[in-house]
C-alpha cells in the first residue's frame, strides 16, 4: 500500500517532545501515538514501509483534530499542518473506513440547500417534541455513537432564519467595500451571526457585499483528506469573489483554508495565480474590525466574558489579540482568564461527528474550564466551536460569536 510523506518535512522533527502538552488527544490519553511526535513517527514508519497504513497508523492519524496547537510550540519549526494534510488524502484513498458515514456527511454539510432542508426536519424534530421523546424513550442510547453525536449537536434554529438570506448593506458616505463569505453550514445554522457581521461592518462604515454563487469553501473536505473535492469548492469560491476587495470571514476554519488557497491550487495553471491573489485578500472579521477606528457608539454591557480561541484562528492564522481588542471596545466587558485556554474544544470541523468519544471528552473538559471562570457570556469565532461549546456548556452562560456581542452593544440591546 503506497503511503508517502515528504522526507524533508519528516526529518525536521528532532523528537524533543515540546509538542506533547499542547496536543489535546495526548492530554486526554497520555499515549505517545496520540501525540504529534508519535504521529510523525508513525508517518515516518509508514513512509519507510515499516508499518502498514491500515489499522493503528490510520487510527492514530484519524484521531488528530488538526488543531495545530503543536505548530507554535515546536522549536524546530516542524510543519505539522503540511504533514497531516499530505497524509489525510492518502488515508482517504488507501484505507476504507466509515465510507458511508463520511459520504453522508459530505453529501450534506457543504451544500446549504440540502442542509437547509435537513435543518427544517431538525426544527420539526425539536418542535414536535421528538427530541424529548427519543431521549426519554431510551431510543437515543441505542443509536450508534456517531448518530448520537449528530443529534446532540443540533443547534436551536429559528424557522425564520432558515427561510431568509443575509443581505448586502449600504452605508452613507465614502465606504470601504468588503465581501462577506456566508458559508455553508454557517448560513444554515448561524444566520444570525452573518446578519450581525453585516450590521457591525456597516455600522463601522463598510459597504458589505454578499457575492452570489458562493457556497462551501472546502474547509470541511480539506481537513478530512478530501482534497479534490476541496479544490473544486475553492475554484468556485475564487470565481464568486472575483472583482471584490477584502474578503471577510467570520468562521475560523473557513478563514484558515481561504488563506491557503494559493497553496491548495498551486498546481492548477488556470487558478494558481488567482487563488494566491484571492488568499491575500482574506481577513477574519476580527482583523477587519481591529484595523478600523471604532465609529459606531458602543453601549455598555456589564458582563464577564470568556473568549475561547478557535484553533483555526489562534494556531492556523495567529490571530489572538484582535478579537480581544475588539471585545475591549465594549464598555463594561470584563475578559476573564480561562484555564487551559489553548486546548481545543473537540469540535474541529466534522471531527466531533467522526470521533465522538474524544470530542466528548474534550468538550466536557472545555466546558469545565470555561465554567470555572464564571463567565456570563462565552464568545468564540468559529461555527464548530459554537456548536460544541453550546452543547457542553449546558444552561449556564450564553454562547455567541464575538460580532454578535458587539452588535448587541452597538444596537443597545442586552444579550
Amino acid at each position: 500500500m503506497a503511503f508517502d510523506v515528504d522526507r524533508a518535512l519528516l526529518d525536521e522533527c528532532v523528537h524533543c517532545g515540546f509538542c506533547l502538552p499542547t496536543c489535546p488527544t495526548y492530554v486526554v490519553t497520555g499515549d505517545e501515538a496520540e501525540s504529534p511526535r508519535g504521529r510523525i513517527y508513525l508517518m515516518d514508519l509508514a513512509t519507510r514501509g515499516e508499518a502498514p497504513v491500515a489499522g493503528p497508523v490510520a487510527a492514530h492519524l484519524d484521531s488528530c483534530l488538526g488543531c495545530l496547537a503543536c505548530v507554535p510550540a515546536c522549536p524546530s519549526g516542524v510543519k505539522y499542518g503540511a504533514l497531516i494534510e499530505s497524509a489525510r488524502p492518502q488515508l482517504d484513498r488507501e484505507v476504507p473506513r466509515d465510507r458511508l458515514f463520511r459520504a453522508a456527511v459530505f453529501a450534506l454539510f457543504p451544500y446549504p440547500g440540502r442542509l437547509r432542508a435537513a435543518a427544517l426536519l431538525g426544527v420539526l424534530y425539536q418542535r414536535l417534541g421528538l427530541r424529548w421523546l427519543t431521549r426519554r424513550s431510551g431510543l437515543l442510547d441505542r443509536l450508534p455513537a456517531r448518530v448520537r453525536a449528530l443529534e446532540g449537536l443540533l443547534p436551536p434554529v429559528r424557522m425564520k432564519d432558515l427561510l431568509s438570506r443575509t443581505k448586502a448593506t449600504e452605508t452613507a458616505g465614502p465606504a470601504r467595500t468588503v465581501a462577506l463569505l456566508t458559508g455553508c453550514a454557517q448560513r444554515v445554522f448561524f444566520k444570525p451571526v452573518n446578519d450581525a457581521t453585516a450590521r457591525v461592518l456597516a455600522a463601522e462604515g463598510c459597504r458589505v457585499a454578499v457575492p452570489k454563487g458562493q457556497g462551501c469553501c472546502g474547509a470541511l473536505s480539506l481537513h478530512t483528506g478530501r482534497d479534490e473535492e476541496a479544490r473544486a469548492f475553492a475554484r468556485r469560491t475564487v470565481d464568486a469573489f472575483e472583482g471584490y476587495g477584502t474578503v471577510v470571514v467570520n468562521v475560523a476554519g473557513c478563514g484558515s483554508v481561504l488563506k491557503e488557497y494559493g497553496e491548495l491550487l498551486r498546481d492548477d495553471p488556470r487558478y494558481a495565480e488567482r487563488a494566491a491573489a484571492f488568499a491575500a485578500r482574506v481577513r477574519d472579521v476580527s482583523e477587519v474590525l481591529a484595523g478600523l477606528e471604532p465609529v459606531a457608539r458602543r453601549h455598555p454591557l456589564p458582563l464577564r466574558v470568556a473568549y475561547h480561541d478557535a484553533c483555526h484562528l489562534a494556531n492556523a492564522q495567529g490571530i489572538t489579540r484582535e478579537p480581544r481588542d475588539v471585545l475591549r471596545t465594549i464598555p463594561g466587558v470584563e475578559l476573564v482568564e480561562v484555564p487551559e485556554e489553548k486546548l481545543c474544544c473537540g469540535s474541529a470541523g466534522v471531527y466531533n461527528l467522526l470521533q465522538p468519544d474524544t470530542a466528548e471528552r474534550l468538550g466536557r473538559r472545555k466546558a469545565e474550564n470555561l465554567a470555572s471562570a464564571r463567565p456570563d457570556v462565552i464568545v468564540t469565532g468559529n461555527a464548530g466551536c459554537l456548536l460544541q461549546i453550546r452543547r457542553y456548556a449546558g444552561d449556564g452562560p450564553l454562547v455567541m460569536h464575538p460580532v454578535e456581542l458587539l452588535d448587541l452593544s452597538i444596537r443597545q440591546t442586552g444579550p
Binding site: G17, P21, E32, R37, L45, A51, P52, P56
Partner: protein, 481 residues
C-alpha cells in the same frame, strides 16, 4: 513464553486500553529524545494510578520480565530506552496535582505532572517550584526525580534533590512505600537522598511531595554581548568572585544564537560572538544594588540589553530554553552533550572544544549554564554525509575532556544508555561496585531499567544500529542474553 502470559494478565488487570501490543504502536515508544538508541519494547503499560503501577510492576517481577519507566520521553541520555521483550511502564496517565499546601509550602503531585504545571498550580499562592529544566513545559516531575534534573536557576536554588520532600515509590518487587516524609529532617539513613538521581533503576515513582518557594519580589534580567566566549567566561568568574549569587547565568555562542533567533524572536544580537543572560532576584533593594555591580562587572561587554518587563524576560528565557531543539534548524542531525567543568576552566574548555571541532571538521554550538560550569555543546552533523561516527566520537571526546579538566561526565541529563561506557573514566571499579551494591539492595533481580548507568560489555562493545557481533561474542567469551 512469559511475556505472553504477562500480556494476558496485564490486559485483564489494566484493560485493553491500558496496554499497547500493536507492533507499529509499540515503535512509538522505542526511543526517548535521544533517538540514536532504539529498542522496540515487548509491551507498553499505561496504568491510570499508583495501584495500577504496582500491579504492573508486581506482574513483571513475577514473570521476571524487565521493565522501564517512562515519563514524557524528553530524556537526552536514553534513560527511558526500552528493553527488548521487556515492558515500558508509562506514567503519563498519572497527571493529577493532588494538593497544593500554601501554609507548609509544598505540593503533592503524581509523577506525570509536568515541571511547569506544578508552578502553575502554585502560582495563585505566590509560590513556585524552583528547579527549571529547559524542557520544563514538557518534562515530568517523575523524570526530574529520576535524573536529579537541573536548570538555569539551579545555580542559586539547587537541583531537584534539594526540593523533594518525599516520594511514593513502587519497589522492583511490586511493593509500595514512601521515602522521606513531611518533617524537614528525617532520622536514619537518607534513603530519599539515595533514590533521587538513580535514573529509574531503584523503583518507579508514583507520587512526589515537592518544596515550593515564594516567587521572588523583584527579578531583573540582562543580556550582555561579548567579543569572545573567553571574555564572557571571564565576566562569569568576576561576577561570582564578587560574591554575587545570580539566579542564573547562561551563555550562548554565536551559532546557538543563530538557531535561537530562527525559532523565537527574543532580540538576541545575531552578530555577537557570545551572549550572557544574567538574572538577579530577591528583595528590591538588594536586587537594585547588585544589578549596578553586575553592569560594572560586565565592563568588557560590547552591548547590554536589560529586559523591559516580564513579557520581554519571558521571551529571553523562551529563546534560551528552546535552544536545543532550535538547532534542528541549523543542522539535520546533532548530538546534545552535557558535561561539567570547574567554572574557572570554562575558557580553557571552550577553546579546546573549538579546536577539537575544527580538527574533526564538525561545527559545535555552545549553550550552557555558565554559573556552575555545566556545558551543553551541540555537535552538528549530517547523517546523509556520513558524519555520524565522527560526530559521535567528537561528542564523547568532549564529555571525556570535562572529566579530564576535573569536572563531570554529566551535569543534569544523566548517564542513561549514552554514557554508561564512559563511567570508568570518572569512577574506579570500587566506586562502581559500591553503586551496584546499592542498586542490588533495591533491585536484587536486576529487572528495573537494566542496562543503564553501569557499563556492560554487551552495551559498550556495540554501536546502535544493525546487529554487529561484539568482539568478545565472536571469540566465544560472552554470549547474548
Amino acid at each position: 513464553m512469559s511475556l505472553t502470559d504477562l500480556r494476558d494478565e496485564l490486559a485483564a488487570r489494566l484493560g485493553r486500553d491500558g496496554i499497547v501490543t500493536d507492533p507499529a504502536h509499540l515503535r512509538t515508544y522505542e526511543c526517548d529524545a535521544l533517538t540514536g538508541y532504539r529498542v522496540v519494547p515487548g509491551l507498553v503499560a499505561l496504568p491510570r494510578d499508583a495501584g495500577e503501577v504496582a500491579v504492573a510492576v508486581a506482574a513483571c517481577a513475577r514473570y521476571r520480565v524487565p521493565f522501564v519507566a517512562r515519563g514524557a520521553g524528553t530524556g537526552l541520555s536514553g534513560g527511558a530506552l526500552p528493553v527488548a521483550d521487556g515492558v515500558v511502564i508509562s506514567l503519563q496517565r498519572l497527571r493529577r496535582v493532588v494538593e497544593v499546601d500554601p501554609v507548609d509550602r509544598r505540593a503533592t503531585v503524581e509523577p506525570g505532572v509536568t515541571n511547569l504545571d506544578i508552578s502553575r498550580a502554585a502560582a495563585k499562592y505566590g509560590l513556585y517550584y524552583s528547579p527549571d529544566p529547559s524542557s520544563q513545559q514538557v518534562c515530568t516531575i517523575g523524570g526530574n526525580v529520576a535524573e536529579n534534573s537541573g536548570g538555569a536557576h539551579c545555580l542559586k536554588y539547587g537541583f531537584t534533590a534539594n526540593h523533594i520532600l518525599a516520594v511514593d515509590v513502587v519497589l522492583p518487587d511490586g511493593t509500595a512505600t514512601r521515602l522521606g516524609g513531611d518533617a524537614p529532617h528525617q532520622a536514619g539513613f537518607d534513603l530519599l537522598g539515595a533514590f533521587v538521581g538513580t535514573e529509574g533503576t531503584l523503583g518507579i515513582v508514583t507520587g512526589v511531595v515537592v518544596r515550593l518557594l515564594h516567587t521572588p519580589a523583584t527579578v531583573r534580567t540582562l543580556v550582555a554581548n561579548f567579543d569572545s566566549t573567553k571574555d564572557a567566561g571571564d565576566a562569569v568568574t568576576a561576577v561570582i568572585a564578587a560574591g554575587i549569587v545570580p539566579a542564573a547565568i547562561e551563555m550562548m555562542d554565536n551559532l546557538a544564537i543563530q538557531a535561537v533567533n530562527a525559532a523565537v524572536d527574543a532580540g538576541f544580537d545575531p552578530d555577537t560572538a557570545a551572549a550572557l543572560i544574567v538574572e538577579l532576584d530577591g528583595p528590591a533593594d538588594e536586587v537594585e544594588a547588585r544589578f549596578a555591580d553586575l553592569t560594572r562587572l560586565c565592563a568588557k561587554a560590547t552591548g547590554v540589553t536589560i529586559a523591559r518587563d516580564a513579557e520581554h524576560r519571558a521571551k529571553i528565557w523562551q529563546g534560551r530554553k528552546a535552544a536545543f531543539a532550535a538547532v534542528g534548524r541549523l543542522s539535520p542531525n546533532y548530538f546534545v552533550q552535557d558535561g561539567v567543568v570547574p567554572r574557572t576552566r570554562l575558557g580553557e574548555a571552550l577553546t579546546r572544544i573549538a579546536e577539537m571541532g575544527d580538527e574533526a571538521g564538525i561545527r559545535v554550538a555552545n549553550v550552557f549554564h555558565a554559573g556552575d560550569g555545566n556545558l551543553h555543546p551541540l555537535v552538528l552533523y549530517s547523517e546523509e554525509r556520513g558524519e555520524h561516527e565522527r560526530a559521535e566520537a567528537l561528542s564523547t571526546a568532549i564529555a571525556e575532556l570535562c572529566v579530564e579538566l576535573g569536572g563531570s561526565l554529566s551535569g543534569e541529563h544523566g548517564i542513561g544508555t549514552d554514557k554508561a561506557c564512559s563511567m570508568p573514566l570518572m569512577f574506579s571499579e570500587d566506586d562502581l561496585a559500591t553503586m551496584r551494591r546499592l542498586r542490588a539492595a533495591f533491585d536484587p533481580e536486576g529487572l528495573c531499567n537494566p542496562g543503564k548507568v553501569f557499563p556492560t560489555p554487551r552495551l559498550c562493545g556495540e554501536r546502535p544500529g544493525p546487529y554487529r557481533p561484539h568482539p568478545l561474542e565472536s571469540a566465544g567469551v560472552i554470549e547474548r542474553l
